[in-house]
């Protein structure tokens, strides 16, 4: 590669946390509302999001373009590493390897998940009110549950461990003590985010989501 990769690498690192890290936290909270508030909680959360101004441009600049750059450049970064956990089986080297493996899994998962949900919305095959039912439908297939579980674990690990790396890459956590503490905190973030996503998969499977939007829901979307 010719040219200087310093700035693209810095941008890649920054985008991973701002905005993508913020997005994954927002996404976890929205989905978790399905677990906590059921059909109604979820549709309220969806409604709130879609009432934000310029939502299309926000999606474009906060989610799609950053994930496209970070994802494609991330694949290239992964290609540039020779994983050597066989010779050096230290914890951090495993985390390094998993950061790359989960990056690739996340790439495939996000492409599929995006097609399954956002593209279907754009095509008019699903409406915002039907999203809960749509997810219920998807999860009637055990293979889809397995794939979503893997995808969710990969994406949340990738973000949490990436946050740890981000703090090193920008010189925020410098000494071994600071890095050890931040790694505990980041693994805590992994567990919490992963639990929230997995619980929402569990919630979408319930019969409550099996039927189309309830009367209460249509009232919300009209109002």
């Amino acid at each position: 590669m010719k040219g200087n990769s310093y700035l693209p690498r810095k941008l890649h690192s920054l985008l991973g946390v701002i905005p993508l890290g913020l997005f994954i936290v927002e996404h976890a909270l929205t989905n978790y509302s399905a677990f906590e508030g059921g059909q109604e909680g979820f549709s309220d959360a969806i409604h709130l999001l879609n009432s934000l101004p310029l939502i299309f441009f926000m999606e474009m600049f906060i989610i799609w373009l950053p994930i496209l750059f970070h994802g494609v450049y991330g694949l290239y970064i992964a290609y540039q590493s020779d994983l050597n956990t066989g010779r050096f089986s230290y914890g951090r080297n495993w985390a390094f390897a998993w950061q790359r493996i989960t990056g690739v899994i996340t790439f495939i998962f996000v492409a599929w998940h995006f097609y399954d949900t956002r593209i279907q919305l754009a095509l008019g095959n699903v409406s915002h009110e039907e999203l809960g039912q749509h997810m219920n439908n998807i999860f009637s297939n055990p293979w889809a549950i397995a794939a979503y579980t893997v995808g969710v674990l990969a994406a949340t690990f990738h973000f949490a461990n990436g946050l740890w790396a981000f703090l090193v890459s920008w010189g925020i956590t410098i000494g071994p003590r600071a890095q050890k503490i931040s790694s505990r905190i980041c693994m805590g973030i992994f567990v919490i985010l992963a639990a929230m996503f997995l619980l929402s998969i569990f919630a979408f499977r319930s019969d409550e989501f099996a039927t189309a939007a309830s009367a209460a829901l249509s009232a919300v979307s009209v109002g």
Partner: protein, 261 residues
């Protein structure tokens, strides 16, 4: 000590052998192959003394005469870095690796992150080029006598001494998953040297030049935080702390450039 000397004749009398499997190649572009050797055991021998034994009597385990195995070494006390090789899977110095502490058969391989010259001899030129690139020295020459420089506090000198122990041995580059043909990462050692020379009261005057060198293609950005380097460095240099500290300083330098400071 006297016990060890007394034990020596007994050990060789028992005819104990040390078994080696060595990865060899005849020329830089030749294919590599492995050859086995059995070397008579002597107490306290290290990998270099075993290689010297093979040189003295170049016969492989099958009893065939073969070309003596080539290696590089100088100081024989783990300060020059020349004898680095992969011993039982881990890169380290052959001179300070004692046979008694190794599992047998002992596998010797060249550090293949570097161009292989012959057998266990590698070319570490890229490390010296990296030191030139980051200007790992203190410029003190002028057209006139510049006078004495500022003093370094003793406490800081002691701290900096730890970083100055680097012998450019290449172990940290061999351990790093991001030092390879597809990646332009400069490697841990020269980044730590920037930290060392930027900490010096006179070297500090050119700190920005070294930081800018780290911000060029093939600089600090290739680090992916596997942290194998700090676990592998024979000198115990806090490489990952140096890298994070230089991440901080290059980030600051970036903002200075943008703001035109």
């Amino acid at each position: 000590m006297s016990e060890a000397t007394a034990a020596a004749p007994t050990a060789s009398a028992t005819g104990r052998k040390v078994k080696f499997i060595i990865t060899r190649r005849e020329r830089p572009d030749a294919p590599s192959f492995t050859e086995e050797f059995e070397v008579p055991y002597r107490p306290n021998m290290n990998v270099i003394s075993a290689l010297m034994e093979i040189q003295r009597n170049p016969v492989n385990a099958k009893g065939q005469k073969t070309a003596p195995v080539c290696w590089e070494s100088n100081c024989l006390e783990e300060v020059c870095g020349a004898c680095s090789m992969v011993i039982n899977g881990k890169p380290r110095q052959a001179c300070s690796t004692l046979i008694d502490k190794l599992e047998q058969p002992i596998r010797l391989e060249p550090m293949s992150t570097f161009p292989i010259v012959r057998d266990l001899v590698i070319n570490r030129e890229r490390m010296f080029n990296a030191l030139k690139k980051v200007k790992a020295w203190i410029p003190i020459d002028g057209t006139y006598d510049l006078g004495p420089g500022p003093r370094m506090a003793e406490s800081k000198r002691q701290w900096a001494y730890e970083l100055s122990k680097c012998m450019t041995c290449g172990v940290c580059l061999e351990a790093c998953p991001n030092v390879n043909d597809r990646n332009s990462f400069i490697g841990p050692a020269p980044i730590s040297q920037v930290r060392l020379f930027n900490a010096h009261p006179t070297g500090e005057m050119n700190a920005h030049e070294r930081l800018e060198a780290l911000m060029e293609e093939g600089g600090i950005e290739g680090c992916g935080n596997s942290q194998n380097c700090v676990r592998s460095c024979p000198k115990g240099i806090p490489l990952t702390t140096s890298i994070a500290a230089m991440n901080k300083d290059t980030t600051k330098q970036l903002f200075k450039q943008w703001l035109g400071l």
